[in-house]
């Protein structure tokens, strides 16, 4: 995709191309932006999210690394402190399990521990989520690993446009940003306007409505759209987009209007990010709520491999539509899909 074409206005490109385009545009705009990770250079990324970068920006700024997530994440910390804006790729979010220290205990605390004398403008990109048959060690979203970390920001786009605009914002951000890319979206096409800026910390109201506020993120956003259409309800759909710091203003405003809150997430029932949204909103707006606020999540199970199971793992549009409709009618928290099936705890 030529720069020209992208600049000329709205075009349809794939989510993974939006990532590559954002990286390229940032690298053009700022010499200090560099990227490294496993097979991001010569091979242009295991998910082709760095297409063209090595050719255009050369081997100093686009580097393949050994299989050493701790070292290269940490190298990003040092490079960021010393004037670069590194973007590193963690191929699958789970691999952060061998590198977490550098992100949450070093990067996120560096500014505090230097009395504000340094900043760490780095981005850690990681593909995440289920749906592609990668099995239980390669399919989780795992926002919880990075969510209680003052000093770190956590972002998750839901379409090509937000992938592009938020990644640019993340690279420009002076602080460390964890950038979660729902893997199943890489191949999805969507319109993209490269002149559109998005801010970290701002949610996107995708549909406005007055019956229910649905807060969602990542790959669940599309499913929510479908569910809302199915339900026929007048739903306000919010793509949270940033988990830390999340857009309290936007969510509170919406729930003040609708009086109903549903959070739809890919994370499991226990420990998922949606509890935070629900808890904070309920604490603030308790008396304005017209119905029990609730979460629609995946069950507390490792992500199953078999296609037949994995397809059932995340709540479907039909599940969500049912849950919204039930809540609208009786104000109670409807059952999760597996409770209907009589499964799980």
């Amino acid at each position: 995709m030529s720069e020209q074409a992208v600049k000329s206005g709205v075009k349809e490109i794939r989510f993974r191309q939006a990532i590559a385009t954002a990286l390229a545009d940032e690298m053009r705009a700022d010499n200090s932006v560099m990227i490294f990770g496993e097979d991001v250079a010569e091979a242009e990324g295991p998910f082709k999210t760095s297409e063209g970068l090595l050719t255009e920006f050369g081997p100093l700024r686009v580097r393949d690394t050994p299989i050493s997530e701790m070292a290269f994440t940490g190298a990003a910390v040092g490079a960021a402190i010393m004037g670069m804006r590194p973007v590193v790729e963690i191929m699958f979010m789970e691999f952060l399990g061998v590198a977490l220290d550098q992100l949450v205990t070093e990067a996120a605390k560096m500014r505090y521990l230097s009395n504000g004398k340094l900043s760490v403008p780095m981005v850690v990109r990681a593909s995440c989520g289920s749906g592609l048959g990668f099995g239980s060690q390669h399919s989780q979203t795992l926002e919880n690993w990075v969510s209680a970390t003052p000093g770190l920001k956590v972002v998750c786009p839901s379409d090509a446009q937000s992938a592009y605009s938020l990644l640019r914002a993340a690279i420009q951000d002076p602080d460390p940003v964890m950038f979660l890319e729902p893997r199943i979206l890489y191949a999805e096409r969507g319109p993209i306007d490269t002149s559109l800026k998005m801010e970290i910390g701002k949610a996107r109201v995708l549909l406005s409505g007055k019956d229910i506020t649905v807060v969602s993120m990542g790959q669940m956003v599309n499913i929510c759209r479908e569910a809302i259409a199915l339900s026929g309800l007048d739903v306000e759909l919010i793509d949270l987009a940033t988990i830390v710091p999340w857009d309290r203003e936007c969510v509170l405003k919406s729930v003040t209007k609708t009086g109903r809150l549903v959070v739809v997430e890919e994370a499991p029932l226990s420990g998922g990010w949606g509890s935070e949204i629900l808890a904070a909103t309920t604490s603030k707006l308790f008396s304005s709520l017209k119905a029990a606020p609730f979460r629609i999540t995946t069950p507390d199970v490792p992500v199953p491999y078999s296609g037949s199971l994995e397809a059932r793992f995340i709540p479907t549009a039909t599940d969500i539509a049912r849950q919204l409709t039930e809540s609208m009618s009786n104000g109670l928290t409807p059952k999760q899909w597996w409770e209907i099936e009589g499964l799980g705890s």
């Binding site: 496993e38 010569e42 299989i67 061998v98 990668f134 239980s136 199953p304 078999s306 199971l309």
Partner: protein, 331 residues
């Protein structure tokens, strides 16, 4: 004796059976490749074509009470250790007949009766686990051993370093087998690793180490046997680097166009299947016709396995919720 244990015992002493098992692995891997290509399997898979001698060689030397931790590139090792092709392919196809009932997948084969821990999809993830199995053997005073198989790329991950050091300082009965197939994903080893002969890294831990030709099953057997004897006798860990070559791409979508010209062809001259055939013929254990027949038979069997697995049921929804915690009431 279970069918799996029987399969395991077959390759213990018979060179012909070892060869047949190598052919079985090759045949199944090729079928898997086709099934992925035709879209009949989803997800990802990592073939071990070219690395069969290592798989069968090491399995033939171990006891079923020994423990093996291997990786996502583990179909060959699983078959060699005795898993049935149905258990392997069934798992890869996500069917109930798979060794994990279909919830694990291509990267997670296991069979505790055969000593195969669930293979890990995390680079280096299986290494400390193998050391831990060895720790149990040592503490309980058995003479079983643990084996960790991992790739060349894995020698750059922190867990590798920590595990070798721990195994050395505790003198654990564990054998580290680095399957150096020259590539880690799409990167040739020289792009990621400043040395070529990885076994020298064991010097950092004062651990005995040596290199073997991973294309020659007899060499593999002798090398692994030496390390196993050493460990069983209480002398601690050994690091073995098996020089092999990944004949296929890294995973299903990879055509491996990044290889230097002629490299694959050169290594194919040392195809472990060919190397073994030549020996068997020379040693008059098989002739060309028998070899041909073995391949044909294997293909027939495996095609049957493919059909069997295709028609096997998908896991029940309930199986998604099982085996997460131990049901204590059931114990």
């Amino acid at each position: 004796m279970s069918a799996e244990i029987l399969r395991r015992s077959e390759i213990r002493d018979s060179k012909v059976a070892q060869y047949e098992r190598m052919i079985e692995i090759r045949t199944l891997e090729e079928q898997i490749n086709e099934l992925f290509a035709s879209g009949e399997i989803r997800g990802t898979t990592h073939l071990c074509i070219g690395q069969e001698a290592l798989a069968v060689g090491l399995a033939s030397v171990l006891r079923p009470t020994d423990i093996v931790s291997a990786t996502y590139r583990g179909h060959g090792i699983a078959l060699a250790l005795g898993l049935s092709p149905e258990a392997v392919l069934g798992e890869i196809m996500g069917k109930t007949v798979g060794c994990c009932g279909g919830v694990g997948g291509s990267m997670h084969l296991s069979n505790m009766e055969l000593g195969l821990l669930p293979t890990s999809a995390i680079i280096g993830g299986g290494m400390p686990v193998a050391a831990g199995a060895a720790l149990s053997f040592q503490t309980r005073g058995t003479d079983d051993v643990a084996v960790a198989v991992f790739g060349d790329g894995a020698t750059n991950i922190g867990a590798f370093h920590e595990t070798l050091n721990l195994a050395a300082i505790w003198n654990l009965p564990v054998i580290f087998i680095c399957d150096n197939n020259v590539y880690g994903e799409y990167s040739r080893i020289n792009v990621t690793t400043p040395i070529e002969d990885l076994h020298y890294r064991a010097d950092s831990y004062a651990m005995p180490h040596f290199e073997i030709d991973g294309m020659d099953i007899d060499v593999v057997r002798a090398g692994v046997q030496k390390a196993v004897d050493h460990a069983r006798a209480g002398h601690g860990p050994t690091f073995i680097e098996a020089k092999t070559y990944r004949f296929s791409g890294h995973s299903r979508a990879d055509l491996a166009l990044y290889r230097p010209e002629g490299e694959l062809e050169k290594w194919k001259e040392r195809d472990p299947i060919k190397v073994t055939e030549n020996k068997l013929i020379k040693e008059k254990l098989m002739d060309a016709a028998q070899i041909e027949k073995c391949k044909e038979d294997s293909l027939k069997v495996i095609k049957g396995v493919v059909e069997f697995c295709k028609s096997a049921p998908n896991p029940s929804l309930a199986s998604m919720f099982q085996n997460i915690y131990t049901d204590r009431s059931a114990k």
